[in-house]
Symmetry: C2
Subunit: 439 residues, 2 copies
Amino acid sequence: MKITAINVLDIRFPTSLHLDGSDAMNPDPDYSAAYVVLQTDGGLEGHGLTFTIGRGNDIVCKALEVLRPMLLGQNLSRFTENMGAFYRYITGDSQLRWIGPEKGVIHLATAAVINAVWDLWAKQRGQPLWKLLVDMTPEELLRCIDFRYLSDVLHPQEALEILRKWEPSKPQREAEMRARGYPAYTTSVGWLGYSNQKIRSLCRQALSEGWTAFKLKVGRNLQDDLRRCQIVREEIGWSNILMVDANQVWDVPQALEWVRQLLPFQPLWIEEPTSPDDVLGHAAINQALQGSATQVATGEHVHNRVMFKQLFQAQAIGFCQIDAARVGGVNENLAIMLMAAKFGVPVCPHAGGVGLCEYVQHLSIFDYIAVSGSLERHYLEYVDHLHEHFVTPVVIHNAHYQAPQNPGYSIEIRPQSRAVYSYPGGTYWRDALKGSSLT
Amino acid sequence: MKITAINVLDIRFPTSLHLDGSDAMNPDPDYSAAYVVLQTDGGLEGHGLTFTIGRGNDIVCKALEVLRPMLLGQNLSRFTENMGAFYRYITGDSQLRWIGPEKGVIHLATAAVINAVWDLWAKQRGQPLWKLLVDMTPEELLRCIDFRYLSDVLHPQEALEILRKWEPSKPQREAEMRARGYPAYTTSVGWLGYSNQKIRSLCRQALSEGWTAFKLKVGRNLQDDLRRCQIVREEIGWSNILMVDANQVWDVPQALEWVRQLLPFQPLWIEEPTSPDDVLGHAAINQALQGSATQVATGEHVHNRVMFKQLFQAQAIGFCQIDAARVGGVNENLAIMLMAAKFGVPVCPHAGGVGLCEYVQHLSIFDYIAVSGSLERHYLEYVDHLHEHFVTPVVIHNAHYQAPQNPGYSIEIRPQSRAVYSYPGGTYWRDALKGSSLT
């Protein structure tokens, strides 16, 4: 199967209108996708996207255009016969590597492209992505990983042993995933822009739907945070789980002080307390929390496996929040999941945004079946917006992600939604921008 | 003075034709600049650029286009009256921050824009950039810095004390810089693509010009490295200084082994032994070198002040190689220089590329006069190509950078060179690409 054309789309949803997604760092996001479609001569298409929050989505699209010649005209099998080599091929162009390496815009674009190839491969195999991964042997999985810069912490042999340990019992966990699905928590109750009453009613609704774990945004104003934590605890009680998320707003000393005030509410984790680059800062905060019920969680802005390696080395995190499209796609996330397994840190992926829930359900289900073998302290994020734009949206029953059945990586946006929300030429934006200087 | 128009140019020099700039990671760079010109109603222009090595330069240019509306139509004084607030304004757009934060393409573009504003301000003052900085009071300098994420390591009060310590004696060091200039080392003798004979003749020529410090690229093949180190030592002797540079090719265990083999040649530093993101890896290597004549140097790919903070905290580097346009321009480099001063680590900027020598001479001269107060173990990189394209190129006498006299940041590329090397429409590229699919 040959890749015969590559379409790049700038898709933006006007989420800022309703404060969905508002947090202490990001007051008015327009959830967006830098979107790529690999067309083939085999009748199948590979879809991939990277999530951004508005302005800058066009820069990622430009990077996708620059990557395009590396895939155009190639046979899919050239990539899938050695997915590790494919990762090195995409990330190893020395001129493009200069503007990273493996970080920021070029790595976001890398993720969309690599995930699109995985989507295409899974469709070719007629399997959902998670099942394609589960059916690989440990040796095949290892061949997908670029171990460069990891060998001081995770040797391929060590990774192989982790995978082999869980190999014989994979069928029973696969059956469990097909029957019950993967446990989730909800972020939909606690965006910063929401009123007290909206938080209360969202909590009640979520409880009635079976949710047991709830995340609240914090960090803009301490008194507000205390009030909001109080409201949520009043609604959900103390046997349910509360997480809090500061979205990088604090310096380390400020984080230590602020989080201390939130500890009476016993959050399971404090997410992104400071700069995502600050491994040693996260380590200092996590260290200060020892003996409490709370640990540090981070990852949605951690830009590659080398940064995750150090977060593990420094014992900086109690929860590892991989993102499907911040690092270099499925391949790099395999490496991160294996390191997490080695260090005994639960992988609790970042989701929400545009399509991140659709993506990461595959990674978490695979992680449970083949890498970690555990659901203890594992929760997959769920946010209930924008799913209606996907051809095969996530399905949640009783606060569990139901294992996807359709072939591929579940990331295809409906053609109608692509047409309406393409920026700036889609019908929604043509109207919305009328009279502005952008038209 | 109002910014009335902003031009963005993609400029590429075909350096790959002669292997200038070849190293173990980057075999065939085309040294390039994502270039921005701020036009004003005052008759002056602010110029800024970011250095890349070819493909991907257009992605940075796209990011410059996206930043354009933040500056267009603004008065220069709105920015210069509080340069710290200006830095937060440019880096704080929450939607654009998502695709960094403060790293990769968006931060490279940030650097070009911020440096262009500094260039314009220095021209308005009629001073070279270094002199504009030197004439600021400690309090004024502090106001240029975004201390966010630094307060656990460098408090503003601490930074103030560093600057005040050197304040009274600034005039004598300024006089010294005007008389003798800033000491440099040369990287021009040892690119990987060069033959033995070319290395020998370049060493001899450099010695005859007064050079005392020489850097060699290593890391592709150990036997080659041993041979090339031997050649350079034969030519320069043992009283002159040798540095080696691996350009990120090793994993940590491999770096430890390889560097051990090079220690008999007593390099002053091993530069970029592994991933620029690997703070703990650099720390492990630097730790292993204790007791030898060699320490770790890095910085040209270290993407912001938070990463430098950790390199200092972890005692990971003996030399701090700031880059003028990898981090967010003058402002962020002020923060990094102050942290280096606190930790007693010499700042030895990365140069070469396109215009990096022109830029960093200002930073090093300022660093000596106002921040570090020392030249001991301080060497500023020099590479002898592409200077002919600059309106006010660097001047080297007796292996010292001569303090720039012209107003501005010395970064203006000659209009003729801009016309010839604009990509892909400039006259050079129009001819070179004739018949390729890019025309």
